[in-house]
Amino acid sequence: MPRIAIIQFPGSNCDFDAYHVLKEVMHLNAELVWHTEFKEGKYEAAILPGGFAYGDALRAGIIAAYSPAVKEIKRMDREKKPILGICNGFQILTEAQLLPGALLRNASTRFVCKWISMRILTSRSAFTKKFAKGDVFQSPTAHGEGNYYIDPAGLRQLYDNDQVILKYCDQAGRITPEANPNGALDNIAGVCNLEGNVAGLMPHPERASERILNPFRNEKARMMFESMREFLTGKRGV
């Protein structure tokens, strides 16, 4: 069974949530790996979990982006292995330039901690394969710097290349300013790279993957991890 690394930086705090879903709920071969121990050759996929790596010094994600572990992640990307950044992990992937754009301070200047709805824009990425375009699901958000920004030329490229995977929406799936928790450009909640193997999002699907944890009484968020499983098994021709 493919080995999946959940990389722990000093300050990561959603590492066990991700581990719980992958290992206890989905029975995948997931491991918590301290960042200095991480060697990409041993793993087929990696999750960069949420938290406050290095205390968000200078900018959320920048210190981790220069760590040896992220050098390994870049090697992993060259082999087109699936890599997901959740919240702080998304910030790390943009700072490492594995994903385009930047995550700025929330427009409200406040930390946002609430359940939001998201709409799937593409099933092209390794983490949205099992969704249909237009699917809506919910997850909690908890961040101070989740305001996605990219310049107009970059935004055009994102749309031209089908790289916007998720947008904030209301429960009916309408993409409205009221449904945007942080001021993100065009309500963008998540993006992927050109090839679709690297993806990042601000909300926390790992905290919404079981019915008992989800006030909307569904497990749709888990489809992100089930997509990864399908991507991994598909690639191996199993």
């Binding site: 900018r59 220069y66 754009g101 930047a102 700025l104 409200s108 200047t109 920004y149 990219i150």
Partner: protein, 87 residues
């Protein structure tokens, strides 16, 4: 002989971006409390770096390289200025 320099690296978001924190300081603190002449505020971050370098020009070169190589300012969203001072 090397000298010690104090380099001030100022990092702020690009003018095209909103700065909600600066806006609150301008409207709800300064203008509301007697400083109506204030037209705007932008929040910035200053890194005060002490370093040894052969001369002022070298200190500037090193600082420029450091900002670029380590992305001290995020080119997607931020600008920076560098001022070299004697320590």
């Amino acid at each position: 002989m090397e000298r010690e320099y104090l380099v001030e690296i100022t990092i702020e978001s690009k003018p095209v971006l909103k700065d909600p924190e600066g806006a609150v300081i301008a409207t709800d603190l300064m203008r509301r409390h007697g400083f109506e002449m204030v037209e705007g505020v932008r929040m910035a971050k200053v890194l005060r770096v002490r370093m040894k370098a052969a001369n002022e020009k070298k200190a500037l070169e090193i600082s420029e390289k450091m900002v670029r190589d380590l992305r001290l300012a995020n080119p997607v969203a931020q600008n920076y200025t560098i001022a070299v001072k004697h320590a």
